[in-house]
């Protein structure tokens, strides 16, 4: 068995696969680096797979918290792992858009699914999950409900500030001058999409474009991204665990090379 762990800034994910690359266990915990999240995710994945730690031949950790996690055999960046995971799930993928809690990245893959080039957002929360969290808080709605809220939008609202702090006050003043919450929610999705589409156009979005990461669960963002980029975007099944799947695949590959 092979274990992949992805420790992000706001969530921890673990995936266990067997030598036939079948997923036996998977788990997501909504706390990330510096918390008990990674332990809990790994524990839950073990329980789902119905195995214990000794059965693991090799493990790989990825994500923002990979440097400080010392229980894995190897660490690999989230860029390489997301690419691997996405290409495994959707072999025709040539572009991967991953929006996580504190960063957004666009990765170009070659025909073998290997990383050709990538861009990440500048150190700024614009275009990331954090931006959406801030917006959800102002709108007094859970992050999970932001998408359904935006479905009832009736009018286009533009959030022009890219800086999250500025955008926050911009939205507050829009709300206080009567803007509808639904419209603001949609505006927030569009703001993220604009930003990420901008990143993408720097290296070019070659089809098929695949989206991974927790924000891919938000239909509003995906729709806005399709509109911004003019491309069809395929959301991978279980987008949150794609990085961990990639890590598990590398664990399997490394172990096969070693033996």
């Amino acid at each position: 068995m092979f274990l992949g762990i992805d420790i992000g800034s706001s969530s921890s994910k673990a995936v266990i696969i067997n030598a036939q690359l079948k997923i036996l266990g998977k788990a997501v915990f909504n706390t990330g680096a510096g918390t008990q999240g990674p332990e809990k995710a790994v524990g839950a994945a073990f329980r789902e797979a119905g195995i214990s730690g000794e059965k693991i031949k090799f493990s790989v950790v990825t994500g923002y918290g990979r440097m400080t996690y010392d229980k894995a055999d190897k660490q690999i960046t989230e860029i390489t792992c997301h690419a691997r995971g996405a290409a495994h799930m959707i072999p025709s993928a040539r572009t991967v858009i991953d929006i996580g809690g504190q960063d957004a990245k666009v990765i170009r893959l070659d025909k073998d699914g290997k990383v050709e080039n990538f861009v990440m957002n500048e150190k700024c929360a614009a275009g990331t999950g954090r931006f959406l969290e801030v917006m959800a808080r102002i709108l007094d709605c859970s992050i999970g409900n932001l998408s359904s809220l935006s479905e009832n939008a009736s009018e286009e609202i533009i959030i022009s500030n890219t800086c999250t702090v500025f955008a926050e006050s911009e939205v507050i003043s829009q709300l206080s001058s009567g803007a509808k919450r639904e419209n603001v929610a949609q505006g927030a999705h569009k703001a993220v999409a604009k930003r990420v589409a901008g990143l993408g156009s720097r290296i070019g979005l070659a089809p098929d474009v695949v989206m991974t990461g927790g924000v891919a669960l938000n239909k509003g963002v995906v729709a806005a991204l399709e509109k911004e980029t003019g491309q069809k975007i395929t959301v991978v099944e279980n987008p949150q665990i794609i990085g961990a799947i990639g890590a598990a695949l590398y664990a399997w590959e490394t172990a096969s090379k070693l033996s």
Partner: protein, 408 residues
């Protein structure tokens, strides 16, 4: 030069002497100039004027982690946080005049050349005005054509002549044209040896040790017109050749796995961290666009050639040159990758970075990565983000190498 002393020791000694002498000269009533990093220093050297280079001084303060107080001072006085951090450090220093990391004398005049960027014009105009001192400007128009056009050469040459008159007026001394020829000769020769030494990095494994380049750069900036500078580069080249002959790589305890170039200025406040992470991944930084920036080579006694040389700096030339230059570097140094520093300070260098990266990638297929940072403002850099990008670069280089090997 004593053969038992290494060029590195001489280098450090030279730089501290450079600053000490400038301070002493000022005390004894000599005139001191502040100048931009790629000025026609030949004119100043001929007049025997002590020069300090605020960009180098700001880099020193940055590396010794003393920049924030000066950055803040400039910002408190109304300069935007978006202004180049070299400018902010220097403007703050002109105000506070004292740093534990090293001091420079206040200038009697400014000698400015905009072949590196146009930020320097307003930065120094403001200082000259506040200090009520003269400013000499050599204006080198940006070259939209591939080569420096004839009219620019003429325009710049005439400014050299005009500057000579201004210098005579400021110092009350006559300009000695014979001495000028001599200085031109030494300067061009120093530049040739700088180029020769830095080109030795192309050997495999490279004799360069990571950030060596950034250290030796101080001398090509500050002492280009001096015999000692020339001697230093000759010695350095000799040492490097020795390492090549003995087959020595950059590190004693680990082999050179990947060879990269660094585009842009170093992150001085994070120099140790940024280089440690490269080393951890087996990445050796062997070159940048800097070797060529100071390869100011021309036939002595030819003012036109000198004008052309000063206008030919990488930063002052068009996109085709910029991308072509890096493509050539990738080939000459057998690079595996490129690290582009998207430097918050330097709009000029960032402006075309993505397009240069795209063109270079298209033409060479070499792996590359862009990271965000700043040359002297420690706050505009995230170590974790840098590390992830460098590691991802390493993984891309590894993948490409494995593919190459498996194809054989």
């Amino acid at each position: 030069m004593d053969k038992n002393i290494s060029s590195k020791q001489i280098l450090n000694d030279m730089i501290s002497r450079h600053y000490k002498e400038a301070l002493e000269a000022k005390k004894s009533g000599e005139r001191v100039a502040w100048a931009t990093s790629i000025v026609p220093q030949e004119l100043l050297e001929t007049m025997d004027i002590k020069v300090v280079y605020p960009e180098n001084h700001a880099a020193v303060l940055g590396a010794r982690k003393d920049a924030p107080a000066f950055l803040r001072n400039a910002e408190n006085n109304g300069y935007s946080n978006d202004l180049c951090s070299y400018a902010r450090v220097n403007i703050g220093y002109a105000n506070l005049k004292e740093s534990a990391a090293g001091n420079i004398p206040m200038p009697d005049f400014i000698f400015c050349c905009n072949n590196i960027c146009n930020t320097v014009i307003k930065w120094y105009e403001n200082l000259a005005r506040e200090m009520r001192i003269p400013m000499i400007l050599i204006d080198t128009p940006f070259n939209h054509t591939f080569d420096v056009p004839g009219h620019s050469v003429k325009y710049i040459r005439e400014q050299f002549n005009h500057a000579i008159g201004q210098l005579e007026q400021i110092t009350g001394k006559k300009f000695d044209h014979d001495r000028f020829k001599e200085v031109m000769k030494i300067s061009a020769e120093t530049a040739r040896w700088w180029k020769k030494a830095t080109a030795l990095a192309a050997a495999q494994p490279s004799p360069f040790n990571g950030f060596d380049l950034f250290n030796y750069m101080a001398v090509i900036v500050c002492m280009r017109g001096k015999q000692e500078g020339l001697d230093l580069f000759k010695l350095w080249a000799e040492e490097l050749q020795g390492k090549i002959d003995r087959g020595e790589g950059p590190w004693k305890d680990q082999p050179e796995k990947y060879r990269v170039m660094w585009d842009g200025i170093a992150c001085w406040p994070h120099l140790a961290d940024t280089s440690k992470i490269l080393r951890k991944n087996g990445i050796n930084l062997i070159t940048s666009t800097y070797p060529d920036s100071w390869t100011i080579v021309y036939d002595s006694d030819d003012l036109d050639a000198m004008a052309r040389a000063y206008s030919s700096n990488y930063a002052n030339r068009n996109l085709a040159y910029g991308a072509g230059n890096i493509v050539q570097i990738v080939k000459d140094f057998s690079l595996d990758g490129i690290i582009y520093h998207s430097n918050r300070s330097c709009k000029l260098m960032d402006f075309r970075q993505y397009e240069v990266q795209r063109q270079v990638q298209e033409q060479t297929g070499v792996a590359s990565v862009i990271f965000d940072g700043d040359q002297t403002d420690p706050g505009a850099f995230s170590l974790a983000q840098y590390e992830t990008r460098i590691q991802a670069l390493m993984e891309m280089m590894e993948q490409r190498r494995n593919e190459r090997l498996s194809r054989r």
